[in-house]
């Protein structure tokens, strides 16, 4: 009789590894995802109900005005009117409003945007979205990897000058509000970045997956990416350094030293491996903050992503657009966190095999 089968979580007949994964990992994480998603969307919904301005009225007025009549056919006006009332209308019981809001979110229908009337809000969002995804994914991955490496190095060399300098820099940079950091960068590099100083806008090219578009994206993205990467690297370095200090003093790391394992081996296989799982969790939890920071940077640098779009929408009181951006931000971040949650057990055997 195998020793292990008595110490592992009970596995009955018919439970494959896949089945255990589904039951033990996927299902609970999925439920968590649903809860997170709905808490977020409910707040977004609640926010648009408890306020003095009734967005629906303003929108309908614009629709039925002469401008609307000139640009649209009657059927279009009617369908838009229904969409607006579905999302913003207040003359129904609150539960109905909530359900129709959720339906709107999941069918990608928020009605027309004010500023880009009569284009659909969701169409506008989807043309700005790839830019944000590009910037966010690229800078997050780069800063996470570099930041963790720097944090581990700062811990290893904590008594040498380089370690102390690194620690100080990250301590100072961490609390600075993203807005101010962006402004500082703009001021410092104002000569190179004069082009970024104008209000947001500027041509948004349609997204195609080809080299030209990607090159274009890169040339506009390098400045905001630089700031984002710099800031987030410092954040990760700071957190990782503290974590690495703790891991280094763990019994099992000391035991590796005692066994005579070479230092470089211990640093890569023990230290880094010990630091990764908590930092993945941290990534999932701080995605919201990272996203907010990216919005600010995009706005400050007039980068044609959701940040600038949000700024535009705010400036023209474009409620459908604003609500759409908020709702899809929540959805996106929750989804990303969910994916990270699913990856986590693959990295940490303690979760995979549980407590015996």
């Amino acid at each position: 009789m195998s020793v292990l089968s008595s110490t592992r979580q009970s596995s009955g007949p018919g439970y494959t590894t896949l089945g255990r994964y589904f039951r033990g990992v996927f299902l609970p994480k999925f439920i968590r995802f649903i809860i997170i998603l709905f808490v977020g969307l409910t707040i977004a919904f609640a926010v648009t109900r408890i306020n003095p301005i009734d967005p629906a009225n303003a929108l309908i007025q614009k629709l039925t005005s002469s401008y609307g009549a000139n640009v649209l056919r009657p059927e279009e006006i009617e369908s838009f009117r229904r969409a607006i009332l579905a999302i913003f209308g207040r003359d129904r019981p609150i539960w109905e409003q909530y359900i129709s809001y959720l339906v709107g979110v999941f069918t990608f229908n928020f009605g027309p945007s004010f500023t880009y009337f009569p284009s659909l809000a969701t169409d506008i969002i989807s043309s700005y979205l790839p830019w944000t995804v590009f910037l966010l994914t690229f800078s997050t991955i780069v800063s996470w990897i570099i930041g963790i490496t720097m944090g581990v190095l700062a811990s290893i060399f904590e008594r040498r000058a380089i370690g102390k300098v690194l620690n100080w820099i990250s301590l100072v940079v961490y609390p600075i509000p993203t807005t101010i950091l962006a402004l500082v960068f703009l001021v410092l590099f104002v000569s190179q970045l004069r082009a970024y100083m104008i209000s947001p806008g500027g041509g948004v090219t349609a997204f195609r997956l080809d080299l030209e578009t990607l090159a274009g994206m890169f040339s506009r993205a390098w400045a905001p990416a630089l700031v984002l990467i710099f800031y987030n690297t410092m954040v990760w370095a700071l957190g990782t350094k503290g974590l690495a200090d703790v891991v280094r003093s763990e019994d099992y790391v000391r035991y590796a030293v005692i066994r005579g394992l070479p230092l470089k081996y211990i640093y890569s296989r023990y230290l880094v491996k010990g630091v990764l799982p908590p930092q993945i969790t941290a990534l999932a939890l701080t995605l919201g903050n990272i996203f907010s920071g990216a919005m600010v940077i995009e706005r400050a640098f007039s980068y044609p992503g959701l940040g600038s779009l949000l700024s535009l929408a705010v400036a023209s009181n474009d409620y459908p657009l604003v609500l759409g951006i908020v709702s899809y931000s929540i959805l996106g971040v929750a989804l990303a966190a969910f994916i990270l949650d699913l990856i986590y057990p693959l990295i940490d055997p303690r979760i995979r095999y549980g407590a015996g």
């Binding site: 707040i43 306020n51 003095p52 993203t178 807005t179 962006a182 402004l183 949000l310 705010v314 971040v333």
Partner: protein
């Protein structure tokens, strides 16, 4: 406690912040102008720093020095409100998550807490500020930030209390019939006071940062002096391009110094707390 007092660096930092807070709250009483500094056109425009105007004047005819002092007051007041509210919510929800007996319910509460951590706060904040544009003021913003930003500390509370649950004195309290609120106030809270102070300062930093971001989007209390409104107006009037550097540099430098010092305090406190010093 004695360890904290012996740490001279920490004392220095705290003294510095206290000095700033005092200047921010007492300073406005010495305002030499008959009007509040965020009004327009009470001094000549665009004057660089000089003896008469130590921080210079803005394109809107405002004295930057006094604008900054009032803005600091708004920042601290708003920060305190945010910190106070979010700490309370964190304590209640975090304790709830630990107190609840059924593991399923505990996981659900934990997911709700995580939801507030994961949520991108800025878009939501922007939506609220957009819809309540007329009513924006530091108290309002402070309250909203407090109600939205309690997730992080709640997580810490939950984790700390879950491990505390295993300790005998908590068993005894529960067995003696302590109800939820009794437990909360008499048993849980004293254990976490150290972390509470850390979270308090942390939330002040958070509030200042968020308000500045709101200013970038033009959605803060624009008719009052605040970091956000200074940023907004200086951007709108192209101070960055026109070389009116004194308008934004002094306030921003002061904000940076403040948050850095606040964070250094947090860092030092965290070091002692991790070593097991309880307050």
């Amino acid at each position: 406690m004695s360890y904290i007092l012996m740490n001279r660096r920490l004392i220095g930092l705290v003294a510095f912040i206290l000095a700033m807070v005092i200047v921010a709250f007492v300073g406005p009483y010495f305002n030499p102008y008959k009007v509040e500094p965020q009004r327009w056109n009470y001094v000549p425009k665009d004057r660089p720093p000089s003896m008469e105007y130590p921080f210079g004047t803005t394109t809107l005819g405002q004295d930057v020095l006094w604008l900054t002092i009032y803005a600091r007051r708004e920042s601290f007041a708003m920060g305190f409100i945010t910190a106070a509210i979010s700490i309370d919510i964190s304590l209640i929800v975090g304790s709830l998550a630990a107190y609840v007996r059924s593991p399923v319910a505990s996981e659900v509460v934990a997911s709700v807490i995580d939801a507030f951590c994961v949520m991108p706060l800025l878009p939501i904040l922007i939506t609220i500020s957009l819809l309540w544009k007329q009513q924006l003021n530091p108290i309002f913003i402070g309250v909203i930030l407090g109600v939205l930003g309690w997730g992080g500390f709640a997580r810490i509370i939950r984790a700390a209390l879950l491990s505390l649950q295993e300790r005998p004195f908590v068993y005894v309290a529960k067995a003696s019939g302590y109800g939820f609120f009794d437990l909360l106030i008499k048993v849980y809270t004293p254990q976490v006071i150290g972390w509470l102070i850390v979270a308090f300062i942390n939330r002040i930093i958070f509030a200042i940062g968020m308000e500045a971001s709101l200013g970038l989007f033009g959605l803060t209390s624009l008719n009052r002096a605040s970091i956000g409104s200074i940023i907004h107006w200086s951007l709108t009037y192209q101070a960055f391009l026109r070389g009116i550097w004194w308008w934004y540099t002094f306030p921003i430098v002061l904000v940076v110094v403040t948050v850095v010092v606040l964070y250094l305090i947090v860092f030092e406190l965290q070091k002692s707390l991790r070593r097991g010093v309880t307050l």
